[in-house]
């Protein structure tokens, strides 16, 4: 990422900055949580390290004991969020055999998660600009997981045999936008209802 301010970077090899004591682990966690709030509220560029450390009740300099840079912190947060979203989906899907029921459960769970974590979108979305590679990987992985779930169904003769990557991306797009509209922004339609409607769409389309 270009355009950062300040003088040259040193050649010093990047040393792992993992805390060695329990106290250290706690401080690192505090910083991560404060950062999630700050980034969620103000976005990456309008967030500042001072702001984050003040929120965390930690000295400015302590930040660099735990993270290499503002970007590195952001990346850590994106990875965290990405993994949590994946977990939510996996948990919701677990143990359901019917493809469409399964997707209904995943959609509902995801909407619920977005409702609870309004900062999710601000962080994942901004990764497009701050850490494009990770951002792209996030969606490719998610689409891959959806495709895999659908394929399981295809093997079982539950969905049309030509269902593939296009449908996976379509389904992901639905979930993401419904999560934005009815999760993050809020509204009168709840996660359950959204799940049901997506499932209906997948089951029979929109046609009368």
């Amino acid at each position: 990422m270009a355009g950062l301010r300040g003088p040259k970077a040193t050649d010093t090899p990047t040393v792992e900055r993992s805390p060695r004591t329990e106290r250290g682990r706690k401080t690192r966690r505090t910083l991560l949580d404060a950062a999630a709030v700050e980034f969620g509220e103000r976005g990456f560029h309008d967030s500042s390290i001072v702001g984050i450390t003040q929120r965390a009740g930690v000295a400015l300099g302590s930040f660099y004991t735990y993270f290499e840079s503002k970007e590195a912190l952001f990346r850590a947060l994106v990875a965290d969020m990405s993994a949590r979203v994946g977990d939510v989906g996996a948990a919701a899907a677990g143990g359901i055999d019917d493809v469409l029921e399964r997707e209904q459960a995943v959609t509902s769970a995801f909407i619920a998660f977005a409702t609870e974590h309004k900062e999710l979108y601000r962080i994942i979305d901004e990764a497009e600009f701050v850490d494009p590679a990770t951002w792209r990987a996030h969606y490719e992985n998610a689409a891959g997981r959806i495709a895999a779930r659908l394929r399981t169904g295809a093997g079982n003769n539950q969905v049309r045999s030509d269902v593939g990557e296009v449908e996976a991306w379509a389904l992901m797009g639905m979930n993401v936008f419904l999560g934005l509209r009815f999760g993050v922004w809020g509204g009168d339609v709840g996660p359950e209802e959204i799940g049901r409607r997506v499932a209906a769409l997948l089951r029979e389309g929109l046609a009368r």
Copy 2:
């Protein structure tokens, strides 16, 4: 938006600084085009006015003859993109009576447009952070147009009578993500095929 730099910001409401002469109109256009490229390549924050004016072959100071601020320029670009996307949809939909055929045409047209304008997403997506109100309005409008199109169909008894906002957002999500995956990123599936598959999904769902 916080975090702006530089001398006092005026509170004067943004009046379009419209050029009076032909030469002026040309300069303004040059700047807009340069900005689209710069923002598309580097994002809002890593783009600079100097960069844009250099690309445009215009003196730094001249920028402020045409735009009130960096943000104002960005807003102009977002509005432009947003309108063009709307136009593309309207043009594609025009004159088609069958709901699903119509959506198929819109999807194909949109994917084709995204393929041609890779900077589209970088600009619309970043509006979430630079100009959230406009960004939200962009999607609300788009969803509204989709809902209206579907409703036309509902009135005609072509789609289920309970199809509403949820389905509109779902459809918009599909289009957006398919445009990203198969338009911007590129791939072996063309706009026509994508349109056909979305239409199939809308027509009969995924179930066998």
Copy 3:
């Protein structure tokens, strides 16, 4: 040079920052002079850009209109000083045929120059740490010029035929240290007298 503070450097290619207007040229000169004083008084690391611009009566940001970095400014200054020392020597040597008379003139002129420009040593000496390549080149060039002058004499049978690089460096060392002791630090022995004594040493050694 490692260890500078601040974020990453941009990839932006180094554009020449030469002033295009007369006003600009004047500002650049003001900055250079202020820098010579600041670096001379406090050394490179304890000098600050704010300090330099304040001395120059110029805004902080203006600095970067003329110099790429603190280091670049320092390099410019070293080059300037180095060239001036060379000029002083050349001017003093010009037109004198006798080798030893010539060196006497150079030594006197150099001591006088050092007396007038106390910041000379602080700047050249610190280049060893800030810009080692230039620093080394400075001395290699100076030694080369001395060797050339002596060789002229050797060709004329004025000095021993085995006089070479070793003697050039020895002579340079004398001049530098005498310039420090009797020029910069000051004292009761003037440039003329120093020149005479060095010439005496070169003419007949120290032996009785």
Copy 4:
């Protein structure tokens, strides 16, 4: 020296923090050696306490058990180097009665020492900026020792009676620059040969 960072600096006069145990003495030595390498490689300002303690395999905090500050450590190193250079000269001069033979021996020994200790110059030279008083004292002492040696010769009628401080500084300058050029930088002329040539210069000058 200005520009120090970190929490309040004590004004307590520098008391040597001498280790009480054998283990402590060893740690202190390790730190000194690591510092000589680090300062030699990177210079004072680009060296860091973390870097030094890491090289030494010692915890950061332990540093302050042995040295009051980064500067105090540097001063200790300068003093050490300065003393060693003096010892080398004294050892080389010991027992030689003839003035010029004696200086020849000193020069050769010094060049050899510089060849072996490339960090010598980086440390002494940087003292000009970090600890100017010590730096000046170092050269004044060295010049004083040379003057004393020459005076012994003058008393013995071996050198001209007017030989004094100027000649001492001239000789010191030769040695220092020859040590840099042929010792630290290296080259094809060895210490012995350098000594011989300096002696020749002192004995009869350069004139044919």
